[in-house]
């Protein structure tokens, strides 16, 4: 049987060069190029941007029309079966057979990935404990909540010890507490388990929390592929919020030449024409003290992933 060559740590997990895919006359992916490296990668893009098709290509479920694609050193089209043995996949839908016990489902899928029965039993049980369903593992999936189902899907995606996990919307339908747990778990899988992760999500906050890299798709092309820290940067403008009206502080800062926008209790402050010798931070502090205002919040404006995403159009 085919064993993948162990990859050197720096080698990209996924390399795409000029990948194209069309269904009939509809072009879904056009000349897609990117490298995904170790860690957690967020695959972003609007609905219909081609994420699902790209995941399908990476799993070797469709034929591409052109270009080269390498996943874990395999060509998904030629070695799909051997490649999929090393991939853990969690689909977007929450369906799953309702009358089957979580344990049976996870063990079955683990066995299908080439692990013999006893080891599969052990690993399935382990995986369900890891996702916090240890006590629940003999319950039929139909009796489980959305959050529990998401965790069953996650468990079945890593129980066979894959090299790469592809998680499609792993937090969809979860409430804030469940989402926190899930993101922690994904972080742990990438960090402690050493499994690389590709995930899609519409919630950019959480992508920002958990991902090291992002690949953004727009209308079938890669519009951005970079590390998250390069994408999200800190601005030199300040956001300030007071307990009470902010206009006095605003006027004071404006008079020294800073560019100030006041909105009720909030201020957005830029350098404006103020002399470079004056420290913006100190000027703000002093203005607050001078006008006896109560400071609630002060921080540098950040460009969040949401900003970047929306800018990309």
């Amino acid at each position: 049987m085919l064993m993948p060559m162990p990859l050197p740590p720096s080698a990209p997990i996924v390399t795409a060069r000029g990948v194209t895919k069309a269904y009939g006359a509809t072009s879904v992916l056009r000349d897609v190029e990117f490298d995904m490296s170790n860690g957690v990668t967020g695959l972003l893009g609007s609905n219909g941007a081609g994420k699902t098709t790209l995941i399908g290509l990476m799993l070797g479920l469709h034929r591409r029309d052109g270009g080269t694609l390498s996943v874990l050193g395999f060509d998904p089209e030629g070695d799909g079966s051997a490649l999929r043995q090393r991939i853990g996949y969690s689909p977007e839908h929450h369906l799953l057979p309702p009358d089957v016990q979580a344990m049976d489902l996870v063990r079955h899928l683990t066995q299908l990935h080439g692990i013999e029965h006893l080891a599969a039993t052990e690993r399935a049980s382990d995986a369900l404990w890891q996702v916090g369903l240890g006590e629940e593992r003999f319950r039929p999936i139909g009796t489980m909540s959305t959050g529990q189902r998401q965790r069953v899907k996650l468990a079945s995606a890593f129980a066979h010890d894959p090299d790469l996990m592809i998680l499609d919307e792993p937090t969809d339908g979860l409430d804030p507490m469940q989402r926190d747990d899930m993101l922690d778990l994904i972080g742990r899988i990438a960090g402690d388990f050493g499994i690389d992760v590709i995930l899609t999500s519409h919630l950019l906050d959480e992508v920002e929390r958990v991902c090291d890299h992002v690949v953004i798709l727009g209308e079938g092309r890669v519009t951005r592929s970079t590390t998250l820290s390069d994408l999200v940067s800190v601005d030199d403008r300040l956001d300030v919020e007071l307990h009470g009206d902010a206009s006095a502080v605003g006027t004071m800062l404006h008079s020294v030449g800073f560019e100030v926008a006041v909105d009720g209790v909030r201020l957005a402050i830029g350098r404006g024409t103020a002399s470079p010798e004056i420290s913006l931070l100190d000027a703000v502090r002093d203005a607050i003290v001078a006008s006896s205002a109560s400071l609630y919040r002060l921080e540098a404006q950040r460009r969040t992933l949401t900003d970047v995403y929306l800018e990309l159009g």
Binding site: G45, S46, N47, G48, A49, S145, T146, G147, D172, G173, L174, D175, P176, M177, Q178, H202, L203, L204, D205, E208, R209, D239, L242, H243, D263, R266, S279, L281, D282, V284, R285, D286, I288, V289, S292, A293, S294, L295, Y296, R297, L298, E299, A300, Q301, R302, T304, T306, Y309, L310
Partner: protein, 329 residues
């Protein structure tokens, strides 16, 4: 976690205002001790509230009773005990009340045999509008869908279907709009557009109640919330005000400053401060008993010790913290 929550966007212009037809502050949805049980399972227990025009977010963990509450409000489910009044009547039986409600159910399914225009026209016709077609065209234009699209609904993407569902909900210009998880599956841009639309509806005098568990979006809905936890109403009102009421919990603030050690020492001496902890050479975490007093003290103390304040950030004031506090109580 080290990342920052996004700054809450500015509140919508004007905020919840009354419509020409309804006096401002009129109660449009009222639950009186509403209780719903299925066998031994109590889904909603003794919930009472009133809401008027504007956007209100219905929050709660999965399984806490949000959908059951919405189904009672729309008349789909009958309260086991208590009463529901929508614009003064019973939504299950009174056709005049039903005419004034629009709903977006949670399920994704739509009539696959129809086009978008046909679906929305049907909804208009069933609401007994005089000119259903032009009402449907108008509603589709509001959600920015192509009114001349001849394709049937199965070809529509998730986001487009969601907008069709919203169009059929508002086509008859209802007074009360009930939306169950309307943002699920939408991408960030689509969600932003939807949130804007909800605000427009709220500003036009509709009473818009939206259930959601995506708090980063809810913050954009504005600050009016209903929180349901374990089947009971945990909180209602403006979430900043709710936070202020949670006086049994001290305020935690993260302060980053140059000369942090000196600032920390000064803070320890201040009576508004309960505890100080130096996280690293530039970061202090502070527990304050009184947010206002601490806010007055921090800038002054920093000035005194000559510390430049780089960042002052309350840790628990976002909706997520309020939410977690309320539902874990």
């Amino acid at each position: 976690m080290t990342s920052l929550p996004p700054p809450p966007p500015p509140p919508p212009q004007g905020g919840p205002a009354g419509s020409p037809g309804l006096a401002k502050g009129d109660t449009m949805i009222e639950a009186k001790a509403a209780t719903k049980w299925f066998g031994d399972l109590v889904a909603v227990s003794d919930v009472s509230f009133r809401i008027g025009a504007g956007v209100t977010a219905l929050l709660g963990p999965n399984g806490a009773g949000k959908s059951t509450m919405l189904r009672m409000l729309s008349g789909q489910a009958r309260p086991s005990r208590g009463e529901i009044h929508i614009v003064g009547g019973d939504p299950r039986t009174d056709p005049d009340v039903r005419r004034r409600i629009g709903i977006v159910p949670q399920q994704e399914a739509v009539f696959e045999a129809l086009t978008a225009l046909e679906f929305v026209t049907l909804s208009a016709r069933l609401s007994e509008l005089d000119d259903p077609t032009s009402a449907a065209i108008k509603a589709l234009e509001i959600v920015e869908l192509d009114t001349g699209d001849k394709r049937r609904l199965p070809t529509y993407s998730k986001g487009m279907r969601q907008r069709v569902k919203i169009a059929q909900c508002i086509v008859h210009e209802p007074d009360v709009v009930l939306l169950d998880e309307p943002l699920t599956g939408l991408d960030p841009r689509q969600r932003l557009a939807m949130v804007e639309l909800f605000h427009t509806l709220g500003n036009d005098g509709m009473c818009v109640l939206i259930s959601s568990h995506v708090l980063e979006e809810v913050e954009r809905f504005g600050s009016n919330v209903l929180v349901i936890a374990k089947g009971r109403l945990a909180a209602q009102g403006d979430f900043h005000a709710i936070r202020a009421l949670m006086s049994d919990r001290p305020l935690r603030v993260l302060v980053k400053a140059e000369s942090a050690r000196a600032l920390a020492a000064a803070l320890v001496a201040n009576e508004a401060v309960l505890g100080v902890r130096l996280e690293d050479s530039a970061t202090i975490s502070v527990e304050a008993a009184d947010g206002g007093a601490f806010g007055l003290a921090i800038a002054a103390l920093a000035q005194q010790v000559g510390a430049t304040l780089i960042e002052v950030r309350p840790l628990d004031d976002d909706l997520e913290s309020v939410f977690k506090y309320l539902v874990n109580r």
